[in-house]
């Protein structure tokens, strides 16, 4: 005697293929999510105690990166400016600005400003700003056009795969040392310039694990 209805045949085959496709699709979704800006926290501006605008200070006033990030050429850590640095100018100008009250408060009380970290690497990654700057890797390569960011966000994914892109092919990203802090600069022909600079600056393709992890 018949147990199943005619439709069962179609159903059973469909469900089998359906299951396979569903599984494949799920994997694909996970894969995409992992590299999505959502997971890497790209392009999301953190809310800061003071809505500091790189756009205004860098593009508008043309202040050099190093005026605030003093140790970028000497240390692993680029350095976050002490309140005093802000006040160098702001005790002269916009002294009354409501927006800047936290800064003045900090100087009065000696309580440090608590900035939200935007570019955060895990603690098992050892990154050194100074060597990258010295080897002609521009700020823009990792931080994007900060001079166009009213509020600072993380432009690049900062995943290991992303780091490796450059460590494997520095010639595609290297720039003349004097252009390192020039966010707008772009090579007219990187194909020829890149390899030259790699030779000139003796840039090593460093992909061993202990270059970053120890």
């Amino acid at each position: 005697m018949q147990i199943f209805h005619r439709s069962a045949n179609t159903l059973s085959r469909f469900s089998i293929f359906g299951a396979v496709f569903l599984a494949a699709f799920a994997l694909w979704i996970i894969y995409q999510l992992n590299r999505s800006p959502y997971a890497t926290q790209q392009r999301e501006a953190k809310r800061q105690p003071v809505p500091f605008s790189h756009e205004h200070h860098v593009a508008g006033l043309g202040i050099d990166c190093r005026y605030c990030h003093t140790s970028v050429e000497t240390s692993s850590f680029a350095g976050i400016p002490p309140t005093a640095t802000c006040m160098n100018c702001h005790k002269e100008i916009w002294t009354g600005a409501e927006m800047l009250e936290p800064v003045r408060a900090s100087l009065r009380s000696g309580e440090a400003l608590q900035w939200q970290r935007v570019h955060r690497l895990p603690d098992f990654v050892q990154f050194n700003h100074s060597i990258h700057v010295h080897k002609g890797i521009g700020c823009v390569s990792c931080h994007g056009r900060v001079d166009q960011m009213p509020l600072t966000w993380q432009e690049e994914p900062l995943t290991m795969a992303w780091c490796l892109e450059c460590h494997r092919a520095p010639e595609e990203h290297v720039r003349p040392k004097e252009k390192v802090f020039d966010l707008a600069w772009e090579a007219e022909d990187q194909e020829t310039l890149g390899p030259e600079l790699v030779r000139e600056y003796r840039i090593l393709e460093k992909t061993s694990c202990s270059v970053c992890h120890y």
Binding site: M1, Q2, I3, A8, N9, S12, T207, S208, C209
Partner: protein
């Protein structure tokens, strides 16, 4: 399946493999081409008796195996030599002897998949609904009874003539197989 004929076919029941095989051979001599037989276990020579001679399965499995080997070795070569070459204990990037075991395993895996899904595919399984189940006696096809089916879409199939022919094989029963 869109029924063009009133029935799916006609089925004769036997109680031992030998008579079924003989019946099948008779049917073929009689000129029937579209028939099938159902048994509780594989019966030797029955498939020739109903005029079914060879299957493409071995070729499918071989293909599966070859694809498997290429995938298995290719994956390892890509990972260790092309995508992220690393010095592992001073061994060469392409330490192919070390890649053999995995290549082998993947070969087997793919071949096995080919064998099983190939077989199911060729057999058109899963197929929970099939007209033959409409015959109440057919439940014994999975126990100890043996059935010969002449399909209605066989060019030589005529209701009465076919029934007469099947009766001549002295089966236990002859049944129409409704859609």
């Amino acid at each position: 399946m869109i029924p063009k004929t009133p029935h799916y076919g006609m089925m004769a029941e036997f109680d031992d493999p030998t008579s079924l095989v003989e019946a099948a051979e008779r049917a073929r001599e009689h000129g029937f081409t579209r028939m099938d037989a159902f048994t509780p276990f594989p019966v030797e020579g029955l498939h020739e008796a109903i005029g079914f001679h060879h299957t493409r399965l071995p070729m499918i499995v071989l293909t599966g195996g070859i694809i498997g080997f290429i995938t298995g070795f290719g994956m390892q070569y890509f990972a260790q030599v092309i995508h992220y070459p690393l010095n592992i204990g001073g061994k060469p990037l392409n330490s192919w002897p070390a890649f053999v075991p995995i290549a082998f395993e993947v070969t087997i895996l793919f071949a096995a998949f080919a064998a099983i899904f190939g077989m199911l595919g060729l057999n058109g399984l899963p197929e929970p609904y099939h007209p033959v189940f409409n015959v109440s006696r057919f439940a014994f096809a999975s126990r100890d009874q043996f059935f010969l089916l002449i399909e209605a879409n066989d060019p030589k199939f005529q209701q009465e003539e076919t029934r007469r022919f099947l009766q001549s094989l002295n089966p236990l029963e002859v049944n129409d197989v409704p859609w």
